[in-house]
Symmetry: C2
Subunit: 255 residues, 2 copies
């Protein structure tokens, strides 16, 4: 009952959003989903920004390339579009933007490589998008994780990061799955997958992180074009989906 009331309210508030064009839609969805007191990111000169996650973040980047701010190391995904906008907008800040997403990663696999591929960067801003594989891989391939394991591992990772790097500002991105994408069989995904989204949002609130409501953004965008326009398989965004994600990320962080 509580859930269906939430769905009703959500549909009510977002009902008109589908008629907006993407830049305004991104703005409207972020404002609807964020609390008034949501943190925004501040960027000092020479700030290090680290993008972390799975294949959606990895997005074809060249592994083993240690430079920052290059096409090769940023890959082809939403991180590229965020980076390019930040590098242009804050040209005088000499930002250093890194991508260390790895395809297939679940939250415990981030932990396995966290010393070298997060803490060593001493990031001023750490953006994480993780969770779709934590559910997806339970559907085949024998992964036995649960939403509870995802929550506990994710919380421990954030807690550890905060201890080791107390000035790092967190951006927690909502994992998403698009109904109608070729890899998304609705009855196998929903409502089970929604738990992972709820957990990411809860952790954002616990850690006073910026929360980027990607699922809500895609849900609204799907009123304009079908799931496969935004992300053919429902998981990995194509060009329009990458731009939508960048718009939402920039809006949510206030950058």
């Amino acid at each position: 009952m509580k859930d269906s009331r939430r769905d009703f309210l959500k549909k009510g508030v977002l009902a008109g959003v589908g008629a907006l064009m993407i830049p305004e839609l991104a703005k409207a969805v972020v404002h609807e989903q964020q609390s008034v007191s949501a943190s925004k990111i501040t960027l000092k000169k020479d700030a290090v920004i680290l993008m972390q996650g799975d294949s959606i973040t990895d997005a074809g980047r060249t592994h083993g390339n240690n430079s920052c701010n290059t096409q090769e190391q940023l890959g082809f995904g939403y991180s590229l579009y965020i980076a390019t906008q930040l590098l242009a907008k804050y040209a005088n800040k000499q930002l250093k933007i890194y991508n260390r997403g790895i395809s297939g990663n679940k939250v415990f696999e981030l932990r396995d490589r966290w010393e070298m591929e997060c803490l060593a960067f001493q990031p001023d801003v750490l953006s994480i998008l993780i969770g779709v594989n934590d559910y997806w891989h339970t559907l085949g391939g024998g992964y036995k994780g649960t939403a509870e394991i995802y929550e506990n591992d994710y919380r421990a990772l954030l807690k550890y990061t905060k201890e080791k790097s107390p000035n790092t500002q967190f951006v927690i991105c909502e994992p998403f799955a698009l109904t109608g994408g070729s890899a998304i069989e609705n009855e196998r995904w929903f409502p089970m997958f929604d738990e992972y989204r709820t957990i990411a949002k809860k952790l954002a609130s616990e850690f006073k992180a910026v929360f980027v409501p990607f699922q809500s953004g895609f849900d609204a965008a799907m009123k304009q074009a079908p799931a496969r326009y935004w992300a053919y398989d429902g998981v990995h965004p194509g060009l329009p989906g990458r731009q939508l994600m960048a718009n939402m990320w920039l809006e949510a962080t206030g950058l």
Copy 2:
């Protein structure tokens, strides 16, 4: 005298622009350089947009790929950032965006391949960025072209296109060269290269095309970061320069 007065006025008007961040800077420069009555682009459903030019447009695209709207065929340059924003913003229009820039091209080389690589597309919007090689290649390699040849060839190309495809809307982009870039020796480039920019602007006016003042945009941006930040060699933009170009193109076209 008239020129130095114009320079003075221009410096006056653009003096504060360097203090703006890139999205607002792009807006300010475009509005300063465009006449009030400048055309804007209208996009119908299923519109075909064709990006034409030299290496700045080519930008590593996969040649022989005939699809539209893909990373591979759009390459890594400003066309990608324009396309991605248009595909997201006008999701319900089913746009078809093509890139047919070829590295090294001068305006007469566009003409050589115009039937198959422009007219055959029946573009609703045709964006052309050409001219840097028309000057650059006279500095070595034995090309004997002049500004007059560039002007005559370019005018003939536009006239021919208008005859064959009267409903095509033109976007004429200003060629540019960044003082301080590794390939730009000032005394060999200026003021001779400025003629090519003036010609592109004059032709935009003659053909009632949208004019995108890239040189002015880069000149203003160089108050925030040096030439090599925007385009290392002064000719081929890096990520921040590509984003600046996309911002200016979208602002100038009103898209």
